[in-house]
Subunit: 244 residues, 2 copies
Amino acid sequence: MQETETIREICSRKSVRVFSDEPITPQERDTILSSALQAPSAGNQLLYTVIDVTDAQKKAALADSCDHQPFIAQAQLVLVFCANPLKWHDAYRLFGCDPRPLGAGDLMLSVVDAAIAAQNAVTAAWSLGIGSCYIGDILENRETQREILRLPAQVMPAVMCVFGRPAESQLSRPKPPRPALTRMVHENEYRRMDEAALKELLSYHFGTDAFEDRLRAFWQRKYESDFSREMTRSVAEWIKAFSG
Amino acid sequence: MQETETIREICSRKSVRVFSDEPITPQERDTILSSALQAPSAGNQLLYTVIDVTDAQKKAALADSCDHQPFIAQAQLVLVFCANPLKWHDAYRLFGCDPRPLGAGDLMLSVVDAAIAAQNAVTAAWSLGIGSCYIGDILENRETQREILRLPAQVMPAVMCVFGRPAESQLSRPKPPRPALTRMVHENEYRRMDEAALKELLSYHFGTDAFEDRLRAFWQRKYESDFSREMTRSVAEWIKAFSG
């Protein structure tokens, strides 16, 4: 593995969920956001809008609507990266074009734009000593998130990241391991994995002792959870707004 | 704006579509892929699989199926980041769980995981002097991409990136400008933009002279294009496979 300063930082970066009181300065905030905007984007359309949630009540509401995680409200910077093909559609409409309705492709391309930008923010923040955590739960509870953030039906909060300086305890926490490259990278064609290959792959997560018990517990806790079912309901509703 | 080496690289990175002949070494390839795997991921599930396309015929087929862009076939590294909640579903099924069907939420969370990982690869590559370009067109032509990459119905190629050392001409090409932060970042609530605000926002793309003519030409060339309509058809088909 070759190393550059950037690669070292990418590899050392881990999620931070407990923050110190030291604030993020306005200059740091702007640096993080400017780094996000420098991310590549389809046709340089920047198919997203970032909502910077500064209001304490709204932070608390999001902490609640995102699977009841109080640390969200304690973050010093809460950014919601909304997939937003609507602004372009609005512009086309208002400036005399006759645009086709927004469809699933427009949504998906925008979600990718939003996620790429968010990762730039996360990487830039880490290089400033600022930690972050992605909150996938922003995909749940469409109706509540729309109300909190005043979102039109076609502006979807695809990615949420919260930022703050890591508390001491977080810095010593080991980064969860990753599998070997060969298990995550297939050459030329997708190889569907059998029991043995899946166990080998997922052992980075569950180890090899009691693998099956741990997998089953994870399945119950995560995949069959209320929040996971809610996410799928919520996202299906978002997609309906892009049915062309 | 504060600067670190990483932030400087994030901000200088631009898309590269013409590559020199100098190869990407196996060590560089592994560094790029390892950096991707270090990206954060929902529950550390790594809900994606990377397909490293090394076969010349397959590269040529992708160049064709992704809106006929020959430079794709000339890239030294072609990575397709597939959203893949199926491997977990397979593991649950094979190890005695009774998982609910995959739904839209599982797909979307996986797309975000895949995009975040891809951006780590792109950032790591740039720090090694290796350029890259995202190919959004991988979302088109579902049936053809499935055949080329042998993808199951629930493994969606969400993001494709091609890599190579920049040709001289590419290094001198200016990076396309971005709008001011205030136009892309809204505080607390989404502000729907009127004509004036949209013109202000989109002037980074079209300038202010002949704004409307340029917007209309872009609308015709991009939004009403065959490839854009095809993308929306194709993604809608992908989503059908995740209807729960």
